[in-house]
Symmetry: C2
Subunit: 174 residues, 2 copies
């Protein structure tokens, strides 16, 4: 059975929507994903807002409440019939996210066993055939075939097969 | 550069010594590592003691205070000149250990970058050339060469090259 590694933030979890909701609520703004093309949201914010926004990622609650990426549960359920699934998330950048990420997976993806969850940093350590990830740095380091999951910050990337959505991942891999 | 993956508990950290110290203190016993040959400590305890002992592993403090395995700092420092080192620990079995394990590594091995720390379950996901581990199940699953680090529960294992101590690991790999 081939092995499929899947990233969490911006792939299984709509972290960016959650981040923009919180930012818009805190600052009375209406920033949308569409306005971010090619940029990370932080880089588009007024300098005066950045200090407060940085604290979002020190708050375990932030990670607990992230909504599902549309279609992720259904697609991962189907993919698990054909692939051995591992969840591989770069949690080491944000140690306060360990427990809420683990609990988030248990809540939304109870069929994924803890033995198949990996918190890592450099994804070159992952032994799998495919990696679905929004982060180009991780796809570059990965030793199998990387599939880029579309997010505003990666729209100009052309070196990997691309999935714009979970139905797209199904089309590529099933 | 070849890549060396290293387990934490019973390899970098003398978890068993810590566990026996706590058990002996709580129950007025004097159980030693030598008495455990071939067995996991839990299986040697009187049934009446087991319920309390199981709580040790739900206590984050337990993981924070584990002493270093003798020679681990010196050896890992030398090995890092020849190998790219990743720390690969099966933390997913014990979610309350995430943060104390991360902090323990930062305190005792500050030169190891967070990007090179991996919390996992099934170590078949680890892409590395060598894995030093006391747990035979992980060595069996690993895709590179496993080296068994001697602990009471693995003394009868013969399928892997064996290191009885950190100087032994240096002799095998340097």
């Amino acid at each position: 059975m081939q092995r499929l590694a899947i990233d969490m933030d911006e792939v299984m979890a709509d972290t960016l929507a959650h981040y923009l909701n919180r930012y818009n609520s805190d600052f009375g703004q209406s920033l949308t994903k569409a306005e971010l093309g090619g940029k990370r949201p932080f880089d588009t914010l007024p300098l005066a807002h950045r200090e407060q926004v940085m604290t979002y990622f020190q708050d375990p609650e932030f990670f607990a409440d992230i909504p599902l990426m549309e279609g992720s549960q259904e697609a991962i359920s189907k993919l698990s019939e054909r692939y051995e699934i591992f969840i591989t998330t770069a949690a080491m950048d944000v140690p306060c996210s360990f427990t809420p990420k683990f609990q988030w997976l248990a809540r939304h993806f109870p069929e994924i066993q803890p033995s198949h969850i990996v918190f890592c940093g450099d994804k070159s350590i992952i032994a799998a055939d495919f990696l679905v990830d929004d982060n180009v740095r991780h796809l570059e380091n990965f030793r199998g075939e990387g599939i880029v999951f579309t997010a505003p910050h990666n729209v100009h990337e052309t070196r990997f097969r691309r999935a714009d959505s979970w139905p797209d991942v199904e089309r590529l891999l099933l």
